[in-house]
């Protein structure tokens, strides 16, 4: 039982990461290899402000989020006006820079040794509520004008600005929010796993998050969420399969990209109202049946 609770915790933590890659890559079409760096930034900020400066864990997490937003703005301002491929390269550079910085400021960060002995403050309930709230916010943003504007930007930036969408401001908002949530999730991670080190989330991990969004379907938040849950649960439960685990997963990814271009879930979106409508539609017939 403990094992499954543990798997669920880790799965949900990673799912928070994926949910906020979704608006960036799925909606706006920006590829960032730096999301891992924001996660590490959040984890380290929270851990250091708790252990070295003795702040309350809640305040430590708030610090992490604020720093995430600030660094997100710093990286976004000069780079989001560039073409998308340059943006990708710069976020990659940022990710490597963050790793280097953590290794070189060993007095504060413990360098390659990482930081151990962080107390476990965050457990399953906190993580589950966070996932629910973040998922709700994200699905609202996707449903309303903001999300549609982002999709318009992904499809055609020039046409988007020609119909009056402020492309830069949208990209900035998405990037900063995603930095904030990544840092938040990183802070939760630190208080849950209790040990952090600089190589926790390198750019390969960031790329993995993007791949999950692609396999789930760029147009489907439900897809991103479910694929991430399945992927990380699968990863933990099938740990015994060793190297073969990655081979199987890689094979599945290739199959999906080849045969379902739009991802596993395509444009499909889970919706409570749709289910209600479906039930109400069915209701009269079932009553007549009695």
């Amino acid at each position: 039982m403990m094992f499954y609770a543990r798997v669920l915790e880790i799965t949900l933590l990673y799912t928070i990461f994926v949910i906020w890659i979704y608006p960036l890559t799925g909606l706006t079409g920006l590829f960032s290899l730096g999301q891992g760096a924001f996660i590490v930034l959040g984890a380290y900020t929270a851990a250091i402000s708790y252990l070295k400066f003795g702040f309350n864990p809640v305040i430590a997490i708030i610090f992490a989020v604020l720093l995430g937003i600030a660094v997100g703005a710093l990286i976004g301002l000069p780079t989001l006006r560039l073409r998308k491929d340059y943006f990708l390269l710069i976020t990659f550079g940022f990710s490597e820079m963050m790793r280097g910085l953590l290794l070189w400021t060993a007095q504060l960060t413990g360098g390659a040794m990482g930081i151990a002995g962080i107390p476990k403050y965050v457990r399953l309930p906190t993580i589950s509520i966070s996932v629910l709230v973040i998922l709700l916010f994200m699905s609202n943003l996707k449903k309303t004008r903001f999300g549609k504007n982002c999709i318009a930007i992904k499809d055609d930036e020039l046409a988007a600005s020609a119909i009056g969408i402020n492309v830069f401001s949208h990209k900035m908002k998405v990037f900063m929010l995603s930095a904030a949530v990544s840092a938040y999730a990183g802070a939760l991670y630190a208080f849950n796993i209790m040990f952090i080190e600089p190589n926790l989330f390198n750019w390969i991990e960031s790329a993995k998050l993007i791949i999950i969004v692609f396999v789930g379907g760029l147009n489907s938040l439900t897809g991103a969420f479910l694929t991430s849950v399945i992927y990380y649960t699968f990863g933990e439960v099938f740990r015994f399969a060793n190297v073969w685990r990655d081979v199987i997963l890689g094979f599945i990814v290739i199959l999906v990209i080849l045969f379902r271009e739009k991802g596993l879930f395509g444009n499909w979106e889970f919706s409570i109202t749709k289910i209600f409508r479906f039930l109400i539609h069915r209701l009269p017939t079932s009553k007549e049946g009695k």
Binding site: F137, N140, L141, K143, T144, R145, F146, K148, N149, I151, A152, K154, D155, D156, L158, A159, A160, S161, A162, I163, G164, I165, N166, V167, K173, N219
Partner: protein
């Protein structure tokens, strides 16, 4: 009343002078046509007026305000709408959402209200939906509201892009080759549509077009470009007889 004033604008691409010292004054409630051989700089002029490209020199005024430094989306918000030569619709959004995103900047709720999907957002969105539906009906596209634009026939896509440019109630509309790729019947319908909407909304329209019948029929004034320069300007019947124009189109030995 003067809507748009373009004051000797130029545009260089490296060594190539795409547009040279072009000036025009556009009043409200008229249709102006810009014609000229391929590569004469017609689309570049549209890009400069709508702010898609930055001009090398000159000034652009809209309703008396200098908008030379304003970016594309700001000019659209002021009331300059445009369509594109190669249709640019959002293929991941369905037909009605294509109109709704265009109307978006006129709605009055902020980012955080959208995040919690507040009552105001839902109320406004419902109004926007109905408004967009009435537009689709007006353009004969209501059947296709849930289609993706790339599954529509070419003529319908042109019409949708036109609807998208008009839904924000602009003062000036730039149409870049609205008849390109349409069959004779569709061109006929398009002429009716443009004239009807222009009359209804008292729009000011500038259009670039190769289809002479359309230009001669609906334009009140015509500008002729060649190698980035204006070589003639006047009423359709004047342009038809202008020697310089005939030379540019047919060569010297006429």
């Amino acid at each position: 009343m003067e809507v748009l004033k373009v004051d000797s604008i130029s545009k260089n691409f490296g060594g190539v002078q795409a547009v040279k010292d072009y000036s025009m004054i556009q009043n409200d409630n008229i249709i102006t046509g810009i014609i000229g051989p391929n590569g004469a700089g017609k689309t570049t002029i549209f890009n400069l007026i709508s702010g898609v490209q930055q001009l090398s020199s000159g000034k652009v005024f809209f309703n008396g305000n200098n908008i030379t430094k304003n970016s594309s989306f700001e000019r659209t918000r002021m009331g300059i709408s445009r369509t594109f030569q190669n249709i640019r619709l959002f293929n991941n959004l369905n037909v009605i959402d294509n109109l709704k995103v265009a109307y978006g900047f006129k709605t009055e709720y902020n980012f955080w209200q959208q995040m919690i999907n507040s009552g105001k957002v839902r109320r406004v969105e419902k109004e926007v939906h109905e408004f967009a539906m009435s537009y689709l009906t007006d353009f004969g596209l209501e059947k296709y509201k849930n289609y993706k634009p790339d599954s529509l026939a070419y003529g319908l896509r042109r019409r949708l892009e036109f609807a998208r440019a008009l839904i924000v109630n602009p003062k000036l509309v730039l149409l870049d080759e609205p008849a390109a790729g349409l069959n004779p019947q569709e061109i006929h319908d398009l002429i009716d549509l443009i004239s009807r909407i222009q009359e209804e909304q008292k729009l000011s329209i500038i259009l670039v077009e190769h289809h002479m019948e359309l230009v001669m029929k609906i334009c009140t004034r015509i500008h002729v470009l060649d190698f980035g320069q204006k070589i003639a300007e006047g009423k359709p019947e004047e342009i038809r007889k202008n020697e310089k124009v005939l030379q540019a189109y047919l060569g010297d030995e006429v």
